[in-house]
Symmetry: C2
């Protein structure tokens, strides 16, 4: 189990590469429509084009969807082709929007145990914490 089962990754299409680059330029998660706006000059015109590219990038494990924000981030764990890392956790700062991505094998094991015991066959798991990051907590009430 991971954030999503991963598919072996062929060459990226032009749109997929553009969307991945655009997402990589963003410090924080971006919505499909924000990406579309970034990429109009590059020839993308419709939401479908972005969503289709994102679907593939997620399938290849290069991008994560942040469910609670309806938006997307590049996977922080750059990986050799075919390398499937484990369950990913997001810590999302509600003040500055920054997202920390980290791995939690212990959490993954625990959820796997429950699944086995209950006959549930998990395909993907999302763990998202909201709160205040250390920088914002320290900030002078700006």
């Amino acid at each position: 189990m991971s954030t999503a089962a991963k598919t072996p990754q062929p060459e990226l299409t032009k749109h997929q590469a553009l969307v991945l680059q655009a997402l990589a330029r963003e410090a924080n998660p971006a919505s499909a429509y924000a990406l579309l706006d970034q990429l109009r000059d590059e020839g993308l015109r419709a939401p479908q084009q972005v969503y289709r590219a994102l679907d593939k990038l997620i399938e290849y494990g290069l991008v994560h969807r942040v469910e609670s924000l309806n938006s997307f981030v590049v996977c922080a764990h750059t990986h050799a082709e075919g390398h499937d890392h484990g369950l990913v956790v997001f810590a999302i700062c509600d003040t500055c929007g920054q997202v920390d991505e980290f791995l939690e094998p212990a959490v993954e094991r625990r959820l796997k145990t429950w699944s086995k015991a209950n006959g549930f066959r998990p395909s993907s798991t999302h763990v998202e914490m909201h709160g205040i990051c250390s920088r914002c907590a320290a900030a002078p009430a700006a």
Copy 2:
């Protein structure tokens, strides 16, 4: 940390009670608009009325939002006023839509540990597994 910090719970307003009842009637998570449709006869007319009621019900810990479905469920852990249960996990069947809700103190502890170590102050955490429930896994490819 819990699915959300809980607020002491006053009397429910009429709309809040109606939304809670409607949600309780549903076997599976329901969207705000589905609830609105259920409640037109009861006098609800606009999405805001439903969303406002849901916001309060969530604040009181009576309802959970399922982020990955953009929908809502009544909390399975009926609780005495003010009782805050721990972190909640959802196991969502992508075949039949059924959702299992359970508690995972071990997962909660693990995430708390990370948060402490990283100066993150969590306010709410969502854990959602997608997959196939035991009944659907057993089903004759219906």
